[in-house]
């Protein structure tokens, strides 16, 4: 397919003014190729959390759309991101998922690169002639920027500043989300990974979709004690909301009491965490710290979806990586308190395992319904997919519309951004 004459140009037919999504959106490989070019090669894509490669010389492998990349800190601690491909004959220069190094060397012919991706040395360079310019043969670099530990990269040299792309509301909510460090830096403790036969946008829609929660996650809710089940009964309480935060981002505020984890610290510790609080006190923390840590263990009260590939979900990061038009990799990253009490981090790990990942009480049911969407779209291609729920009583929010907790406002935010980026020449 030539991108000079794209197969799709009528984006209103793919996502209509009535918030109807065309079936091809999940199924057409040419449209997928267009998306990889127009979205994943153009905007900021999340690649790492700073705690995953904390030291000078430490790195991790990641992806920007379909491109495998290396995210690394150089000797001065500066973050670099480059495509994992030797400039000579294209071999990957690194196949270790995470680690520490002083350089990257291609295993094929020995071209050696610095931590900033620059070509340092190559065997027998004289065969390239005297005018061979090493500075023109560094690894393909991406632009990088961080906000509160979240590292993003972009292929687009002219991309807007990261904080403009995120916008003030997203930045405010990221800061609130990171309070679940409980006074310690937030640290990635591990990740669950699973691949699902679905288009990436099926996942993009899900993180701020409260409507599915009591249905898909009934078996998870049944495994909770009464007090915790009551906290998760956010659909019936009707105090939460969903809001378009601009640029395709959205928030689903499920438990407003847990929006700011520094509030309500004078209230007694929740019964479900009473034993944990005792252990934390026994580790020598005072009452205020104990309450702050315990509250943080319970996670934030909201899910926030960032366009196009990362979301903050109560107490973890969810990352999507498109693989092909009908396959998407998902990562659920468990978070803890760097240097925090052992008991608190253990509780965070066990809570994460309870819901997330291939054997969680929640994720497998999500994966099942996502796959069912992809399977369902094999029939009735002319039927639209509806994301119009809750338009009826949307009101203006801070930056965009705000709707009922079960409204599909977040999906509309993402599809509006999708349309804007796909239409952009």
């Amino acid at each position: 397919m030539s991108l000079d004459s794209p197969k799709f140009s009528d984006f209103d037919a793919l996502y209509s003014d009535k918030a109807e999504v065309a079936t091809q959106m999940y199924e057409d490989p040419d449209l997928f190729a267009q998306e990889m070019d127009k979205i994943f090669k153009k905007t900021w894509v999340w690649v790492a959390h700073e705690s995953e490669f904390p030291d000078k010389g430490s790195f991790k492998l990641s992806n920007v759309g379909l491109d495998p990349v290396i995210v690394v800190r150089d000797r001065k601690g500066k973050i670099h991101c480059m495509v994992n491909r030797c400039r000579h004959r294209a071999a990957t220069v690194c196949e270790v998922k995470k680690g520490k190094t002083s350089s990257f060397q291609c295993p094929y012919h020995g071209w050696g690169y610095g931590l900033d991706g620059s070509l340092r040395a190559l065997p027998y360079p004289e065969q390239y002639g005297d005018d061979f310019d090493k500075s023109q043969h560094g690894m393909l670099k991406l632009k990088t920027a961080s906000y509160n530990g979240m590292v993003f990269a972009s292929f687009n040299e002219d991309v807007e500043p990261l904080e403009d792309f995120l916008g003030p509301e997203v930045c405010r909510y990221i800061d609130l989300f990171m309070k679940q460090g409980g006074g310690f830096p937030v640290k990635v403790l591990g990740e669950h990974q699973f691949t699902v036969p679905m288009n990436w946008k099926v996942q993009l829609e899900n993180t701020t979709d409260a409507y599915h929660f009591p249905i898909v996650h009934k078996s998870f809710l049944q495994s909770l004690d009464d007090a915790t089940a009551d906290i998760f009964d956010f659909l019936d309480k009707g105090t939460g909301w969903v809001e378009d935060l601009g640029n395709g981002h959205s928030i689903m505020m499920m438990i407003p009491d847990r929006e700011d984890l520094d509030e309500g610290l004078d209230e007694p510790v929740e019964e479900r965490f009473a034993e944990l609080a005792e252990e934390i006190r026994a580790e020598g923390y005072d009452e205020h710290q104990t309450r702050k840590i315990v509250k943080a263990v319970g996670g934030s009260g909201f899910n926030m979806n960032l366009f196009p590939n990362v979301s903050f979900s109560l107490s973890f990061f969810r990352v999507l990586t498109p693989v092909s038009v009908e396959q998407t990799d998902i990562r659920h990253m468990a978070l803890g308190m760097d240097g925090g009490p052992v008991a608190a981090n253990q509780m965070r790990l066990r809570l994460h395992e309870h819901f997330q990942g291939p054997m969680g009480f929640g994720s497998p049911d999500d994966a099942e319904v996502w796959e069912r969407v992809q399977r369902g779209t094999k029939g009735g291609e002319e039927l639209p997919i509806l994301v119009n729920r809750g338009i009826v009583d949307e009101e203006p929010g801070v930056l965009g519309p705000r709707g009922h907790i079960s409204a599909e406002t977040g999906m509309r935010a993402a599809y509006e951004m999708w349309k804007r980026m796909m239409s952009d020449d």
Binding site: Q193, V196, L349, E353, G357, M359, F361, P364, A367, R375
Partner: protein, 164 residues
Amino acid sequence: MTEMVKIDTNLVFEVTEFLWYEADLLDRKDYDTWLDLWTERGLYILPIDGDSDDYANQLNLCYDDAKMRKDRIGRFQQGFSISSAPPAQTVRTISRIVVDDVMGDTITVRAAEHLIEDKFGRQRVWAANAKYTLIKTETGFKLDQKIVTLLNSDGMLNSFSYLF
């Protein structure tokens, strides 16, 4: 010496019979019987990091004490979990059984596990190293610890609607 060899052979046979019995329970999804195989303090773990045994302080696929095992089985059986109603069907073999250690009534065993699942007309194959701590009792063996490490435990997996 002859006596020792005889005892070991018997033990390997008894252990093998038990592991096959457990594997058969899991393929037939006779989970209530499976729950009764465990000691009260027993842990059923599927780690992600196969090189470390500090399971409590790392993220696992599952880290089940008695309550979590019971809740997990309840979730499978109640019919509200769309991924496990219906679940994938499985056929597994347990082989390459090695008795590592015998300390009184406590026996440590390693084995290879191959499992094939079938759902939506699609089959997937999984290979794992399994490690068991068994307690010999008057009524037969009890599971005190079972740690199953998938060959690709730290890679891209799929969701599991059954146990390994």
